[in-house]
Amino acid sequence: MEAEAAKFIGAGLATLGMIGAGIGVGTIFGNFLSGATRNPSAAGGQFTNLILGAALTEALGILAFVLGLLILFS
């Protein structure tokens, strides 16, 4: 197999890591929403925690994405 092709395949595989991050962020926002509809008065105070959790989860996806770009452009 050509090295060039392998590189593209590798970059594609590396970005698969974003799937997990996508699921994670979706879970966080979904659970926040279901909690917020049950107790809307407590939702406002948890906004910072929501963003924090989403950011921490998303970081892993971003890591995979950057890795993919690194493979693609190296």
Partner: protein, 255 residues
């Protein structure tokens, strides 16, 4: 057609002398587009705050209300996370937030996003990390080890917990830098790729021009999403700075 990565290339502008730092490092101080973006971003923040707070009154005007809104938003956030000692660290958090926000937002107007340069985000992250370390050692001294040894955890769990805590602590600046960098990079690459679709579809002829409406709508939608991301990432950077500061400021006693 130009690569979507072209937007991140640095072009040298005004030539300035190369200085030698104490460590023997040679640093080329020439201005380039990244430095210009930073200068404009910081300048905009300073001008904005100078205009809005020059005649700060108890009853705020329209402009002052904007500055106060930002101020209160971050102040409340910092106080909620750090507690009553947040006022000491608030200027740093607020400066970081405004600087990152300004650079992110400028990236959507100018052709260059300073926060999509790993050098910039890594410096900001390392600066925050070092600040946390300095404050931590200054306040807690040798008690800093408690950061990695959570209270009330049995010793056999500590064998597992301490390395994890240590690694996650050391990785903090890495994730902090990569999160901002990756978000900005990814967003702008996606924008450029979609814009490239518009161009290549439109060059196919009449059918292509009609079809190009789809990626064009995509670019518009993505741009609005990027505005959200630009704000959110600046906010996340500030929140995480507060969280890391809180770890060392309130070490041992949870409020």
């Amino acid at each position: 057609m130009a690569s979507p990565m072209e937007q991140f290339e640095i072009h040298k502008g005004l030539q300035l002398p190369t200085v030698e730092l104490p460590g023997g490092l040679l640093v080329d101080l020439s201005l380039n587009n990244s430095i210009m973006a930073m200068l404009i971003a910081a300048g905009l923040v300073i001008v904005f705050f100078e205009i809005t707070t020059r005649r700060a009154a108890v009853v705020p005007g329209r402009m002052q209300l904007m500055a106060e809104g930002l101020f209160s938003y971050i102040d409340d956030m910092a106080e909620g996370i750090i507690g009553h000692e947040s006022r000491k660290y608030f200027p740093y958090v607020f400066s970081i937030f405004l600087f990152v926000l300004s650079m992110n937002m400028l990236g959507l107007f100018l052709a260059f996003t300073a926060t999509s340069q790993l050098a910039v985000t890594a410096t900001l992250a390392l600066m925050t990390f070092l600040l946390v370390l300095v404050i931590g050692f200054a306040r807690n001294g040798h008690n800093m080890y408690k950061l990695f040894v959570p209270a009330g955890v049995p010793w056999y769990m500590l064998i597992l917990v301490t390395p994890i805590e240590l690694i996650s602590f050391v990785l903090r600046p890495v994730t902090l830098a990569l999160r901002l960098f990756g978000n900005m990079l990814g967003g702008h690459v996606a924008l450029k790729v979609f814009a490239g679709f518009v161009f290549s579809l439109a060059s196919l002829g009449a059918v292509g021009v009609v079809g190009a409406v789809l990626p064009l709508a995509g670019v518009v939608a993505l741009t609005s999403l990027e505005f959200l991301v630009a704000f959110l990432q600046a906010f996340v950077f500030a929140v995480l700075t507060c969280v890391y500061l809180n770890d060392v400021v309130n070490l041992g006693h949870h409020h």
